[in-house]
Each structure stands twice: as C-alpha cells, then as structure tokens.
C-alpha cells in the first residue's frame, strides 16, 4: 500500500503540482521567477560551489534522462565493458563532485552573514533535499554497482509505466531502501520546484544566442503622421 502511494500516486501529485503551480506562478507572479543569485553578496565560495554543481548535475541528469527515454539504445551503449566502465567511473566522479559542491554551497549559506540574510526556509529545505538526492545517488552508485545497467531494467520501466498511466510499482517495491528514498526524494524535488527558486531551471536563456544584441520596443503604433 505504502509503495503504491509513494511510487504510484505521489509522482502524479508532484508532476501535477509542478505544472499547475508553475504555470499559475508564471501567469500571476512572473516577477518571482528569478535565479535569486547571491553572487553579489559573496562571490568566491560561490564559484567553487555553483560552477561544479551546475555542470555536474546537468550531466548526471542528462544520463538519467537518456537512460529513461531510450532504454534500448542505452543498453546497447553499455554493452561493451569499456564503455560501461567509463560511464560507471564518470558517473561516480560527477556524483562526488555534486556532493562536495552542494556541501560548499550549504556551508556558504550558513557561514556568510550576508548570504544567510537572504536565505529563506524554503531555500534551506531545497538545499537539504538536493543534498539528500546527490548523497543517496552516490551511495547507490558505490554500493550497487553497474547502476547504468540495472536502471534500464528497473527504474526506466517503472517511469514508463507512470507515463502510460498504468503504474507498476513492483519494479521499485523490491529495491533497497536508499533507492526508494532516491526515487521519492526526486519527485519531492519536482513538487518543490514551483514553490521555490528552482523555477529558474525553466528559464535557461538559450534564445539569447540567436537574438540581435539590441532590443527596441515601441509603445505606440507607428503610423504615418
């Protein structure tokens, strides 16, 4: 029963919240969409936390996403031992990087007076949830070898069962506790997304590359006078 709630129902609740509240917030409080950067108040420690954190977590997430979307291709990719080994090692290194970076970021927020003054309770909740997520991730990677491989046969089908609205929680029910925690916490982060500064992830400004440098906005209809 509890498995059903955690892995069959909660993910839907989390995604529904993320979409509904995210859209509501975008429509009615767009002003609140911001990265809330604190670099202005403290720059050095942020460099050692933020840069490794963002690049490493993006790569780790990308691997999760690819293995979920294309399990077959992912399986073939890892078919050769060399590639499997490479992925395993780089995944672990990136995971450790995210852990250290997150600790740096948490320490910075706690230790710097200026930065802690602009930190809200939701910020703390988010930081802790993120730390739990990357720490469990690294623990899983170390304790349960060849995650790149078994993910395809357990987590990926579970996620697909969610996508097809016929949740099959058996895939996760038999998993060890930390995997369950990792999975639930992942959806907790999804649920937290619209209520926190995490919303900045949907505003990655890629359109900048293509746009002209200067922007001009006309307030009046330019008719011939």
């Amino acid at each position: 029963m509890i498995d059903m709630i955690l892995f069959g129902v909660f993910p839907y609740v989390a995604v529904a919240l993320a979409v509904a509240v995210g859209i509501y917030r975008y429509c009615f409080d767009r002003y609140s969409y911001s990265s809330q950067s604190s670099q202005f108040l403290e720059s050095r420690a942020l460099f050692w936390g933020s840069v490794p954190w963002h690049y490493a977590i993006l790569l780790v997430l990308l691997a999760h996403l690819l293995a979920f979307l294309f399990p077959a291709a992912w399986g073939t990719l890892l078919g050769a031992p060399g590639r499997l080994y490479l992925l395993e090692v780089s995944g672990m290194v990136l995971g450790v990087v995210t852990c250290i970076a997150m600790l740096v970021l948490i320490f910075r927020r706690a230790a710097n007076d200026r930065v802690s003054a602009v930190t809200t309770r939701v910020d703390w909740l988010l930081l802790v949830a993120l730390l739990v997520q990357v720490a469990t991730g690294v623990f899983i990677a170390i304790s349960m070898r060849w995650g790149g491989f078994w993910y395809v046969h357990t987590v990926s089908p579970w996620l697909w069962s969610l996508v097809s609205f016929s949740p099959n929680v058996d895939y996760l029910a038999s998993m060890p506790f930390v995997v369950k925690l990792h999975a639930v916490n992942a959806f907790f982060l999804v649920a937290l997304f619209p209520f926190s500064r995490l919303v900045h992830v949907v505003s990655i400004p890629l359109a900048y590359i293509a746009r002209p440098y200067q922007l001009v906005v006309w307030y009046r209809q330019r008719k011939q006078v």
């Binding site: 002003y31 690049y55 200026r114």
Partner: protein, 495 residues
C-alpha cells in the same frame, strides 16, 4: 535612413557644486527600500577619484562595454556563448564590497540604555545582515579629494599619466578637482541590453529610454558587468536588476526627472536629439579617438527639410520634432560642439554629454590690465588638470577634441569678462573668438544658455503621447514590453 528620437542630457560640469541633492532626490523617489539601499542611480563623484563602484572605469577589471573583434563588435565580457557559459558564476561581477555595504545605526540603544557612567552610543549595523559592522566605504567616500593618496591617486585616468603629469596634478598649490554627476547614459549601443540573456532590457523606441522589465529579468546579472558605467544594479533582496529609468513616469506627465528638477547648480539640460539608427554599428566600430566626433556627426539637424521628411516617414510625431528644434542638448552637443560624451571609447554611444570643467586658468596682471598668461594656448597646455586626463575622460584620448571645446569655453569667458569687467585688451578678445571659431552672437547664446535660462528652456521634454500608447496585452505579438519598470506587486520575495 532610420531616424529615431532620443531624450538626451547635457551636464555642465562648471556649474556642479557637488551638493548631492540630485542623488538624494533620486534615492527618495526610487531606491529607498530593501535591496536597493546601496544603489545610487544618480551619484556624484569627485574627479580625480576612483568613483562608485570603486574603479568602475577600469575595464581590465570589470570587462564592461564593447571591443572590436576583427570586423565585428563584441561585448568585452566575451561572445554570447562564452557569456552563457558563465551564467552560474560571472567572474566579472562587482560584489557589494566594490560599492559599499549599506549601514544604519542602532539608534534605540541611545534611549534604551540603562542609566550609567558612560554615554550610550549608537553602533553601526549592516542593513543586509543586521549585524554590527565597521563602516569602511560609502557611495562618495572620496568626496572632495578626501583620502586622495588612496582614491585620487588610483583613478584609472590618473594612473595612465606620466610621473611628471601626476606630480603636477597633486602639487599642493595646484591641487584641483571637479565633480562628475553620473546617471545611466541611455546609450544607443547599450551594453546592458546586449548582455541580458533573458532579453529583459530594452530601449523604448519613441524616446530611447533604456528600461529593465522586472517581470522578465531572471537575475542573471550580466547587465551589471556589461554596462561599462556600472549603471545597472543587482537588487540583492529581490533577485532583479534595476537601473535609472530617466524618471519616465514623471516625463510622461510633463515633469523633469527628479535629479534634473532638484539640481541646485542648474547644471542639467534635457532635450531630444535625432539620429540615424542605421549608423549605430558603423560609428561604434570607429577608432577610439574618432568616437566623440562621430557621435556628434550622427546627430541630425531637426531644421533640415530632408531630415524632417524622413522623420515624418519614420513616424516621429510633429510635436516631438518641435521639441527637437527647441532642444538645448542639440545646441550644446551639435550646434556649439561644447559637450562631449563620457568615455566614448566604451563604444556604447552614451546619450549623456558633459561640458568639461573650465578650471581656473592662469593669468597675470600687466600695468593694471589683466592678461592671460602670455598666450592662452600655452596656459591651456599647462592647465591645472592635464589635457591628457580630460581627453581620457571625454574624448577617447583625443586631446584635439578637448582643446577645441576649451578654446570655445575660454572665448566665452573672455568675451563675457570684457562685457562685465572690461579690463581686457580688445585685440585679445578678438583673437580668442577667432581661434575658437565663434561669433559674438553665438558666444552670447552660449552664455545665456549656461547662466540665464529658466527651467523650461533647460529642460525641454517632448510630449510622450501616452494617450496613443498600446496597452500591454492588446497586441502581444508586436508589443510585448509587458510592464516596463512598473510592477504591480511589491518588490519582495514571495516564494
């Protein structure tokens, strides 16, 4: 030709008394709130000095403005993808310590202290963290050359002078300074607009005012670095960047911007300039020394029938053209050529111009007749502030440009002295006029505009025609300016 109108300004530095009234007016209207305490959209610095934020002119440190990359123009911070790559940490961002940490005092300690032998004191506390702090800087810490061995001596413009010139500047009996009030220049080739990854910063087509849409800003803080004048500010509490809005709500109601209205020295002039937007890029790519002149050249004559016709075609309202013909900035910048842009070599094509300060020139008395030291050109070269320093500020290093302006200003001074005091040689007055290339009438006009104008002549606001504005939402495709600066909710964190 793609004619546009620009609300531009001229600050007459000879008239600035350094009273900071402008800064306070601005602060009281716009930035008196949490997260904005440290922002001075209008600030007044003492030159020579390092300014606010400290050493803002040093682009080796801050990487503001543009540079030429081959035949292209590129932000000094790097190209677009390099800039995006540094979004998680912007190495060129000034931090609060480069400005100053805002502070207040624990005044309640004065009244709450228990009776005792000692006087109670009000300790300074940070307005960011609320903790006690040591005050080490302020927005005008180097006012009136205070701490000149730290501040004035490290002025990026002074550092590049020769040893001898520096000594000459700081020789105690010749020590000299002037005030430099600064607001956003509402540039034609704005660095802040170009650097904003979200596309939140834009120039208003009708009047050229540069604004940051608070709803679109995502706090990437690239504009702070990209503006070479450091005139966009990151709101540390709201996570949004903000900047001078040239008081557009006041202008739309026909009122002068707060700093212009309150200026005690009446140094501030505002008016419309017409320019050809198609030339922006070509002008911005010229050599450093050509920039000041090129900026003057790209301004169009509002009396020229061809320009009038083209403006009509571009949809510039007749009332705006009328304002352009009355514009005092047109006179200062184009007609008389005595106002120059600040640091044109940053290539943002700033639309705030300065009449450089005519510091006391050397003169001597000969048989009861006041004579300018021999020939006033020698005296100009021996001016108390090296011409090189002034050229570095206002002309991209082009001393000829600065000299031309000074010849005119000296001619005005000499002619007026002859009128009011009458102790100069007539031949000398004629010579000054001839060398400056000004007629008696023009000199009289410059004098009147400098000293005897009413606010309506100094500040000619074009009608902003709000009644014709397209409301946001009516035509979302073509007019997605959203709400400009004005946000209908309190600027604080809610999520």
């Amino acid at each position: 030709m793609n004619i546009r109108a620009q609300v531009s300004s001229v600050f007459h530095l000879d008239k600035c008394i350094g009273c900071h009234t402008c800064s306070i007016a601005c602060k009281n209207i716009w930035t008196d709130r949490k997260g904005a305490e440290y922002m001075w959209w209008n600030n007044v610095e003492t030159k020579p000095g390092t300014g606010y934020p400290t050493k803002w002119e040093d682009q080796k440190q801050y990487k503001g403005g543009w540079e030429k990359a081959g035949s292209d123009l590129q932000l000094k911070m790097g190209n677009k993808s390099a800039l995006l790559g540094r979004i998680f940490h912007n190495p060129d961002l000034p931090t609060m310590d480069d400005y100053y940490e805002p502070f207040t005092f624990k005044y309640q300690d004065l009244t709450n202290a228990p009776a005792g032998d000692d006087q109670p004191t009000a300790r300074p506390v940070s307005m960011v963290s609320g903790k006690p702090m040591k005050i080490e800087a302020g927005p005008n810490w180097d006012d009136d050359l205070s701490g000149s061995n730290i501040y004035a001596a490290n002025d990026p413009g002074v550092v590049q002078l020769s040893e001898e010139e520096q000594q000459q500047m700081f020789a105690i009996e010749k020590m000299v300074m002037f005030y430099l009030p600064r607001i956003c220049n509402h540039c034609l080739n704005a660095g802040c607009v170009a650097g904003c990854p979200s596309g939140a910063i834009y120039k208003r087509g009708e009047d050229g005012i540069v604004l940051i849409s608070q709803d679109k800003c995502r706090g990437w803080r690239m504009c702070v670095s990209a503006c070479p004048y450091k005139k966009t500010y990151y709101g540390w509490s709201t996570g949004k960047s903000e900047k001078c809005i040239l008081c557009y709500p006041r202008q739309e109601a026909g009122e002068a911007p707060g700093c212009f209205h309150s200026c005690v020295g009446r140094i501030r002039y505002l008016g419309v300039l017409l320019y050809d937007a198609d030339r922006i890029e070509a002008v911005a790519k010229l050599e450093d020394k050509e920039l000041a002149a090129a900026q003057r050249e790209m301004i169009l004559d509002p009396f020229d029938p061809e320009v009038i016709a083209a403006a009509k075609k571009a949809g510039i309202a007749t009332a705006v053209m009328d304002a352009a013909r009355k514009s005092p900035t047109y006179k200062f910048v184009k007609e008389w050529g005595i106002a120059l842009p600040l640091h044109p070599e940053f290539r943002t094509l700033p639309m705030l111009f300065y009449v450089p300060p005519l510091l006391p020139i050397l003169s001597k008395e000969q048989q009861g007749v006041q004579k300018l030291a021999d020939d006033f050109f020698t005296s100009l070269e021996q001016a108390r502030l090296p011409l090189k320093y002034l050229a570095g500020l206002f002309a991209g290093g082009n001393e000829e440009e600065i000299k031309a302006v000074y010849r005119k200003l000296i001619a005005v001074r000499i002619q007026r002295r002859n009128v009011t005091v009458g102790d100069l040689d007539n031949a000398e007055v004629d010579k000054a006029r001839e060398i400056a290339g000004l007629s008696t009438e023009t000199i009289e006009a410059i004098f009147r505009m400098t000293s005897l104008t009413s606010i309506k002549q100094r500040i000619v606001i074009p009608p902003m025609l709000r009644e014709q504005a397209i409301e946001a939402g009516m035509d979302p495709e073509a007019y997605k300016q959203e709400m400009g600066f004005g946000s209908r909710k309190a600027p604080k964190r809610r999520w």
